[in-house]
Amino acid sequence: MTITSRKARIDKLAENGDAGVSLVASAWRRLRRSPVFLVGAAIIVAFVLIALLSPLLAPHDPSATLLLDQVSKAQNKIPDPQPGYPLGGDDQGRDFLSRLLIGSQQTLMVGVLATLFGLAGGLVLGTLAGALSGWVDTVVMRIVDVMLSIPSILLAVSIAALFVHPNQYTVIVAVAIVQIPVFARLLRGSMLAQRASDHVLAARALGVKPGAIVFRHMLPNSLSPVIVQATIVLATSIIDAAALSFLGLGNPDDSVPEWGSMLGRSQGLLDSHPELSFWPACCIIVVALGFTLCGESLRDALDPKNRR
């Protein structure tokens, strides 16, 4: 073996290409190999696709009472599966499959929006507290403490009950507000850690403007626990929203289907028509599982301990 070829080989080992591999990229590489992540991601992708394509996929209008004539409270009759209606109808004679498919939209919307709002609120509060410290920090953290001193579902229920006219958006707001303190505290914690870190000190020493320090250095480096949390919150917010619907604080208008309220409403029929609860429950569980799996594997991947 000649020197050059050896060197070349070693160079290649050392250089790893010239483009440079950012931390995110290396985390991604780890993720791609994790079966947990792949399963979770597959579930999420499928779910998002269904949500986006459901208007095309759904065989019928989810709010049209097409099979109403087969419904009878008196005989506890609910339309059975039949040609064109593979899962039958619900207790209003609406196509159950279509409702399940379209229901993914609401669920996705609730999950994503609640998480986004919670994240946004948490980001604002956490950044304020972490960046400004002093009395702002004290005030923000006291607020956060107060919010955290009420168990989360309870808080969500309280907030949801606050709205005079509950609808799908009030559910989102309720679930989102509950997440704010969690995100805020998480972010503040890592912001404070960042604040004390040498690279932030270096940026200050360089004379980088305070705003730029916060937004270019502290924030981006504090985000990974927040992102992990967000993924997990996606799952919990879907479950929480379902719980709110179950408690009757959800969208009163059920012409727009949503899994949580579909589940909540059909529990009374569990023994005679188990499929009415089974399918929405399954959907919720699988989707929540998908997000949880992704969150967990993301947490692992971003964990500096696993970095090599």
Partner: protein, 356 residues
């Protein structure tokens, strides 16, 4: 040459210790830096040594106003830094830079080398167009001995020595006058240390820099410094030219320190006489009264050492020492004696488990 670039006058940095029932109140202070005065001449290298926790880094940061000094003044090139605020202070930062101990944690892991280097330039409007900046960056990299391919990589892809070079390049990018290097080599492998030390020396020559080098390794400090200050528990106990300091340490602490440094030569090691200090460094939150060193000093004398804090006084030309009995010790009039070790509890911290 002997024109002062920075002078530090009685700088104090006291960190409050806070605790309280509903609201925090200050129940004490960590006297991290407690009255240090020194002057660094333009173009020289000033070395600062001392055991860990004695306040070296804090002094360095206080000089740059990265921590707010509780008292005293720092005059940089005629400007009183402590009077500067906001934008003025920010602009002043260009002229004083810092190199850190841990080369990895001092680099933002999410930024490529290029953006790390450009950031400072941008902050001080030194980047003039793409091309010009590109050229500057390449020069900078070659000055610190890195290939230009490094620009697009991320800090975690480099070895320790290379990272330290990036840190140095970052400081150099804004063309500073003063560089404060806080333990620039102590995290590096022995073989790489020398490379960085040499690099620092070369750069000083090339750019006419002034250095404040902070380290706990006396040998390194002595090697690169013109003058060395020895710190103990927040105060400067001795200051001298680096050769004089080694040749004739006057402060008992300096003596002990010098004798404790292992020398890679069995012949020397076998012959050396060591002054072994007993006990540990007292906590800076509760520094001893009088001379801070009296609890461990083998030459301690009754009364005066315990009660009166010695000031830094010039004994020979350029050799200052803070010891009441420096001359007597030098002349052998006072003999060392046994010291009872004093119990020292490191700061006990209340770790409240995070409820979040």
């Amino acid at each position: 040459m002997s024109e002062p670039l920075v002078s530090v006058e009685d700088v104090k940095v006291h960190f409050p210790i806070k605790r309280g029932v509903v609201l925090d109140r200050t129940i004490g202070y960590v006297y991290a830096v407690d009255g240090v005065s020194l002057t660094i001449q333009r173009g020289e290298t000033y070395g600062l040594v001392g055991e860990s926790g004695c306040g070296k880094s804090t002094l360095g940061r206080g000089m740059l106003r990265l921590v707010e000094p509780t008292g005293g003044r720092v005059v940089f090139d005629g400007t009183d830094l402590s009077a500067l605020r906001g934008e003025n202070l920010r602009r002043m930062r260009r002229r004083m830079q810092m190199v850190f101990q841990d080369p990895l944690s001092s680099l933002d892991p999410r930024q490529s080398v290029e953006s790390i280097l450009v950031e400072g330039m941008r902050a001080h409007e030194l980047d003039k167009g793409r091309e010009e900046t590109g050229k500057q960056l390449r020069e900078l990299l070659s000055a610190v001995g890195l290939p230009s391919t490094a620009l697009r990589k991320y800090p975690h892809e480099f070895s320790g020595g290379q990272r330290q070079r990036i840190g140095i390049a970052r400081a150099l990018a804004v063309k500073p006058d003063l560089i404060i290097a806080d333990e620039p080599v102590s995290a590096l492998d022995v073989s790489v240390q020398a490379q960085v030390v040499n690099l620092l020396e070369d750069l000083q020559e090339q750019f006419g820099l002034t250095y404040l080098v902070i380290a706990h390794d006396l040998a390194v400090v002595r090697h690169i410094s013109d003058r060395v200050g020895v710190m103990y528990l927040g105060g400067l106990v001795e200051e001298a030219g680096s050769d004089e300091l080694y040749a004739e340490p006057l402060h008992p602490y300096t003596k002990a320190l010098l004798s404790a440094v292992p020398v890679p030569d069995p012949l020397v090691e076998d012959r050396r006489e060591r002054i072994l200090l007993t006990g540990d460094l007292p906590s800076p939150a509760a520094p001893p009264t009088g001379c801070r060193f009296h609890t461990r000093c083998p030459w301690r004398q009754a009364e005066r050492c315990d009660t009166e804090r010695p000031v830094l006084r010039e004994i020979l030309g350029g050799h200052r020492v803070a010891c009441h009995f420096a001359e007597e010790i030098r002349d052998g009039k006072i003999r060392p004696h046994e010291v009872e070790p004093v119990l020292v509890h490191p700061d006990e911290v209340l770790i409240a488990p995070d409820a979040g």
